[in-house]
Amino acid sequence: MQYLVPRRPGRGLARGIPAVLSVVSAFLIWEIYVRVSGISPLMLPAPSRVLDQIVQNRALLWDNTVPTLKATFAGFALSLTVAFGLSVVLDFMPRVRRALFPIFVVSQTLPLVAIAPLVVLWFGFDLTPKVLIVALVTFFPMLVALVDGYESTDPEIEDLIQSMGASRVQVFRAARFPSAMPYFFAGLRISITYAVVAAIFAEYVGARAGLGIVILNAKNSFRPDLVLAAVVISSLLTLVLFAATALLQRFVLRWRDVEGHR
């Protein structure tokens, strides 16, 4: 008989120690190098200087983080909705899947550098083009994950529920959709790391405000310290979003934790 081994919170922290150590030592080496070599801060600012810039420019950074976050969330919400809706349609209509899938693949081959300015040209400097670009970049990994996830359903489970007289909708809800969840979260985690970067890129191409604009202006005025300050903020945003998905995954897929601790 196997019983559930409760997760000890201390173990998760202990597992994080090597990661924290490696990040801290990378910054330390960077800091030491800048101080010892005496390189100009216009070439390479030390981490301490970047940190100082974040504190000094916190109002500016905050004001420009909000629009980036808005674009990220709106774009991601749009892409999640479209990906899920499409995945259901494609699952119920295999013929449509074969017809449409090449289009989705092509959508991923478009170079963002070329597409983003066009989207801005068509939709202006407001929120819309940024939302569209975030959605374009993030929707494909989630769609593929969902479609593959439905296909991964254990055929024995599907046979069983069909033998119970289940309709196609019941099969989807009770068997195919839950089977896809591990795949979906794999796709979600990839997508979420692209989301903030895509929003910043869209701003960089043309916007009134946002972290992309901060980076653009700082670059044009030869302020690498401020560029890096904005980069740090954007990384933090991505990390927070990634952690949030990991937490959500832990909750939705808690049956897998149980399995792992047999």
Binding site: I157, D159, G165, A166, A174, L253, W255, R262
Partner: protein, 249 residues
């Protein structure tokens, strides 16, 4: 009284003839086994009954009505337990009732009184991965029984278990069956299991499968948990010889 009647079933999948003129019947409260070599098409008969394969030739009637009108006369238990790993045990047990459109609360109320009998008390909130193979199999069996269908179709229900657990499960199952008398149709390739549990046994040939022998087992129950009697030995020997003559090249 004949509850389930299969007449002149033939089945061809692709270019392979799988079933050839199969005739079988199961009476109410009877335990009937299909015994045959691996890959003979035993499971195909069940797939015809559950509708996973379309009926090509022959007829299936359940309680006098043709299969189409009686599509849900059967509860099916696959060889591997096919429990949904993301559902707790209680939610796996109620799956069939949910599919029938019974509200979750009512379904649970219907299942809970049976949980103790199946040795699952205190485990209803566990996930399948937390249970032993025997418990998972009992869960799968209870999930089959609670659907309240006329005939239970068991496809090698103990085949995936280790030898010791299998023996325990067979004894337990025999005891449960003696009190409940579910009309049961069992597919197996285990001769001893067929003799221990069945009222009647159909022996299938190699593919394309035909019924080559039908044996009535009238040994008094319980048959397990005591040394097998001479009669059981004789039937087992006879079945083995029939099967070996089939598989021997």
């Amino acid at each position: 009284m004949t509850l389930l009647d299969l007449q002149n079933l033939s089945l061809t999948l692709g270019n392979t003839a799988v079933l050839d003129d199969i005739n079988m019947h199961v009476a109410k409260g009877e335990f009937v086994s299909i015994l045959g070599p691996s890959g003979a098409g035993k499971s195909s008969i069940f797939r015809l009954l559950t509708g996973a394969l379309p009926l090509q030739r022959g007829s299936i009637t359940c309680a006098g009505e043709p299969l189409a009108a009686h599509k849900n006369g059967f509860a099916f238990m696959p060889q591997r337990d096919a429990l949904m790993p993301w559902r707790r045990i209680i939610d796996n047990l109620t799956l069939g009732l949910e599919v029938q459109g019974i509200a979750r609360q009512d379904a649970r109320a219907q299942v809970m009184p049976l949980v103790a009998d199946f040795g699952l008390e205190g485990f209803t909130n566990h996930y399948p991965a937390q249970l032993s193979g025997g418990m998972r199999q009992r869960t799968a069996l209870l999930r089959t029984i609670v659907q309240g269908r006329a005939v239970q179709l068991l496809d090698e229900p103990f085949g995936a278990l280790d030898a010791l657990t299998r023996t325990q499960m067979q004894s337990w199952f025999e005891a449960r069956w003696q009190t409940a008398r579910w009309t049961t149709f069992l597919v197996t390739h285990d001769v001893r299991e067929a003799v221990a549990l069945s009222d009647r046994i159909y022996v299938l040939s190699r593919r394309p499968a035909r019924v080559i022998s039908e044996i009535t087992v009238s040994i008094p129950r319980p048959r397990l948990g005591r040394p097998p009697c001479a009669q059981a030995h004789a039937i087992e020997a006879q079945l083995l010889e029939t099967l070996l003559n089939q598989t021997g090249e």
